[in-house]
């Protein structure tokens, strides 16, 4: 998995919209596809245009490692960004995260109309619900 710093470096350069989507689509490959037995209702995040699944594993130091999958590659790319931001943090640290500010900093929110979709908030809500 990419580090948060690498993620910032990747998105810090000026890109046109196609390049930003290319980045997201490439990022999606960082998340291994879920096996069918993990694509269960309990793991599904509702409210997105395509099906999205998310799992969270609490580690011994109380931080979380998230895994996710989605039918759509762009949504999966966005999910990857969110997971990179949230991984290795405690529930409290995750709750304190301002995802929208970070996405704005990465120039994802302003430039990609996908980020206006309601689904993004559902993903953030689910990550924060740990």
């Amino acid at each position: 998995m990419l580090s948060q710093q690498t993620l910032f470096e990747l998105f810090s350069k000026q890109y046109n919209w196609q390049d930003r989507y290319r980045q997201l689509i490439a990022l999606a490959k960082q998340l291994p596809d879920f096996a069918d037995e993990k694509k269960i209702e309990a793991n599904q995040v509702y409210g997105c245009e395509n099906r999205v699944w998310l799992t969270a594993n609490k580690q011994s130091d109380n931080t979380f490692i998230f895994q996710g999958d989605s039918e759509g590659r762009i949504v999966k790319g966005l999910l990857t960004v969110l997971i990179i931001i949230a991984n290795n943090k405690t529930a409290e640290q995750i709750k304190a995260l301002d995802f929208h500010a970070i996405l704005k900093q990465l120039k994802i929110t302003d430039e990609l109309s996908q980020s206006r979709l309601q689904g993004l908030d559902k993903l953030i809500e689910r990550i924060k619900s740990q």
Partner: protein
């Protein structure tokens, strides 16, 4: 029809000057590639003007107050009702009920006609092509009454084997919103009435592309929405044969659906008013009246011929894409497809980024998606206001999207 390279050179505008004039009536097309007309059609300036005129200068309610604008509006609402009756060839304007849309119209049939009629184990035959708006009202009333829903492929041959003395209602679309398939309503109607069942037709898509004659086709109930036919949103029509509407209970209670009321009870108003409690969507009705008058001025055959050529052009361009699978019937202005290994939502996002309006997903027709074996499709839907440039912009945007995703 020209094929191969010749088709790519086809200059449809020059061959169809009428289509260009038609297009000029739609202000929304100024900076927009709009290929989502099956979801809702764009509005001609005439319709917009009529709505604005009502709100700006002639606001008044219908069937109530007696001042000048109110009297004019009352007359205009009934004039519009007559226009709708003429448009679908019903025998009387009393058979035309204003509703919020196709969905409300079908729910009225299910709750006011079907619910008191249906007994346990009675059968409602519903085609599997249906939009949820012609499926859910039947599922609800089946649950309420103990009647059974019977799934039908929409093929005439299969219908004869499904019909029986238990069949009370057959519900079918005039045109599928996914495949564009138009069932043979004449034959279906004949069969349905041999079994003394009633025929409910969802005209939401069909009313736009096919002339409809509810009397000749012997349709018992017909529903459509104004907004898919270049008209305003929030307005629909329920047509019902007069004797059926007369025997039906009222749907909602409120102002102007009654002749007399006391704390002991009420006496309902005559048709069509008994189904129109409360203030109607007057601006919408006036806008729709303007739309119907405006529609009359166009040579339908010529626009239809143009649309067919545009459809052929779009299909031939799409067919050149790799890994494409089509789901629509030939020559349909509704074109649904998938591209192997690409999720429709990714295409939707990338086309939206390029200002191309299309529709993706299950299209409110989940049972049909299950039958087609897919989780969703990409749909473009064409109207005579579209042109070759729209198709070219769409194809180029789609190619960009596919390139990004592979």
């Amino acid at each position: 029809m020209v094929i191969g390279m010749g088709l790519l050179d086809l200059n449809l505008h020059n061959k169809h000057p009428l289509a260009e004039i038609f297009r000029a009536d739609f202000p929304a097309l100024d900076n927009n590639v709009y290929l989502d007309s099956a979801a809702t059609a764009l509005k001609p300036q005439t319709m917009i003007n009529a709505t604005v005129e009502y709100y700006a200068h002639h606001t008044a309610t219908a069937q109530r107050s007696l001042h000048q604008d109110a009297l004019k509006v009352t007359a205009a609402v009934d004039e519009a009702r007559q226009s709708v009756a003429d448009f679908i060839h019903s025998q009387s304007s009393h058979e035309i009920i204003w509703t919020r849309g196709t969905t409300e119209s079908i729910n009225i049939i299910a709750q006011s006609y079907a619910r008191p009629l249906l007994q346990v184990n009675d059968e409602i035959i519903v085609s599997e092509l249906e939009h949820h708006s012609n499926l859910l009202p039947w599922l609800i009333v089946a649950k309420q009454t103990g009647a059974k829903l019977i799934k039908w492929s929409a093929e005439v041959n299969e219908l004869s084997s499904l019909l029986s003395s238990k069949t009370k209602i057959v519900a079918i679309t005039q045109m599928s919103n996914v495949t564009g398939f138009c069932p043979d309503l004449a034959k279906i109607s004949q069969l349905v009435h041999q079994y003394n069942a009633i025929l409910v037709v969802d005209g939401a898509q069909g009313v736009v592309h096919q002339p409809i004659d509810v009397t000749t086709l012997n349709i018992d109930f017909y529903a459509f929405s104004a907004h898919k036919l270049y008209g305003p949103t929030g307005l629909g029509v329920l047509y019902g044969k007069q004797h059926l509407l007369e025997q039906m209970d009222v749907w909602q209670g409120g102002g102007k659906m009654l002749k007399n009321a006391s704390f002991l009870g009420f006496e309902v108003e005559e048709l069509p008013y008994k189904f129109e409690a409360g203030t109607q969507n007057i601006a919408g009705i006036l806008g729709f009246q303007a739309t119907l008058s405006w529609l009359k001025k166009w040579d339908e055959a010529q626009l239809d011929c143009y649309l067919k050529q545009l459809v052929t052009y779009a299909e031939s361009k799409l067919a050149q894409l790799k890994h494409i699978q089509f789901f629509q019937v030939k020559n349909s202005p509704i074109i649904s497809f998938t591209i192997e290994n690409i999720h429709h939502n990714d295409i939707a996002i990338l086309l939206s980024e390029q200002n191309i309006a299309i529709r993706t997903g299950e299209l409110c027709a989940k049972p049909l998606m299950d039958k087609l074996g897919c989780h969703g499709v990409i749909r473009i839907s064409l109207m005579p206001y579209n042109n070759q440039q729209d198709i070219d912009s769409f194809i180029s945007a789609l190619q960009n999207a596919i390139e990004l995703l592979t």
